[in-house]
């Protein structure tokens, strides 16, 4: 029998902040095995909300 331990890196934003690498957003993020925490930075919730659009437009078909 072989037993292995999988280690995942988890990064957590400070209160009122959101982590992002420009594409992914989250207050807690489990990184994939090809990612590095250094690629993420914190932004405010307001900054995050400003990045979100909700309505489809014809150009988005």
């Amino acid at each position: 029998m072989t037993t292995s331990t999988i280690t995942r890196t988890v990064i957590t934003a400070d209160d009122g902040k959101v982590l992002t690498n420009g594409v992914i957003y989250g207050t807690e993020i489990i990184l994939s095995d090809t990612e590095s925490p250094e690629t993420y930075r914190e932004i405010t919730v307001e900054e995050y909300q400003a990045t979100q659009s909700e309505e489809p437009t014809e150009s988005e078909e």
Binding site: I24, Y25, G26, I29, S32, T34, E35
Partner: protein, 366 residues
Amino acid sequence: MTTAERLTQIAGNVQNVYDSGIDSGRECMLSNLDDLKSSVSITDLSNTQSVDITQYGGQASTVHDGFYNFGADFDNFGSGSGTIFTAAELTTPKQCTITAYGNGNYASITINGQLTTITDYTSTPFVFSGLVTSPISFDYQFGECDIKVDAQTSNPLPSGTELYNALWDSFQNSGNRTNYRGMISQGSSNVPNPGSFGGWMSKYIIPKYVIKPLDSYGIFSFCENLIQAPTVDFTITTKIDSAFFKCESLKRVGPLDLPSALSFGYTFLRCSNLETISSIYAPKVTDWTKAFMQCPLLKNITFAADIIANIDLHWSTLLTPASLTNIVTKLSATATGKTLTLPTTAVGKIDSSLLASKTNWTIAYL
């Protein structure tokens, strides 16, 4: 009857079909009569008019205003017979009101094969109101007989079933239609599709043929009252973007079998009461990030195929542990650089070893 009144009556016929025959007990209301009018051929909406019976040999009655005598010199107790309408004029039934006075030894009128003797010439006339399917004949001997016919100059209203068939045969091209882009959308500049139903306000959509779309973009978008989507065969569908956009009354959808679909943008955007998507089989979708936007009540969702693209479900804070486990389980083992975004309410609800095993995925809580 005005055009508006007639169309309202036709809409009522559709209502009757849904209520009584085809889908008992279900409510259906077509609110956009202009669309209905354009979907069904109704060419003559003129009012009922008195028929000029002189063309059939009648002559103006000297006793009853607007009535006609037939034959020669009835006042001298002559005899005669005649016919109103020709067979050629009655290839389709004609809605008529027939009023007749008669006296003497024998006066009768035959309507739709039914002979009636008329005996009152002064006070109470014989009256028939209904569809006339064959020429009206009368026979008279030794007395008076005055007749008046009011008839619609148009064909009678189609029955509910005829209307239902005409509507869906036309709209679904007798079952051959595949472009359902914005088909039953309640209206959006984003989903233009000439010939589509606009303003569908009903809780149900009950088409004659199974909908089998190639293009499902916005197919039911803005149907805010729809509580049950019709059965749709999505097996050839490549595009299902915005399909249920703002279907705010829908609580349950699926199963959805979409083996060919590539695009899932805004498919369930603002389905604010959607609780369950019973099953989605869509192995080729290349982006799920906007599919479930603003579905706050979504609890149950089951993916039947591996997920190979970015997927975002952070709006759905009520997802059950079973749904969360299914989602993570279905994350492809071979995809790279992909992200699953879940609500923070999902933290701690997924087996940690399962989460840890998806090393090729970024899993974000937002």
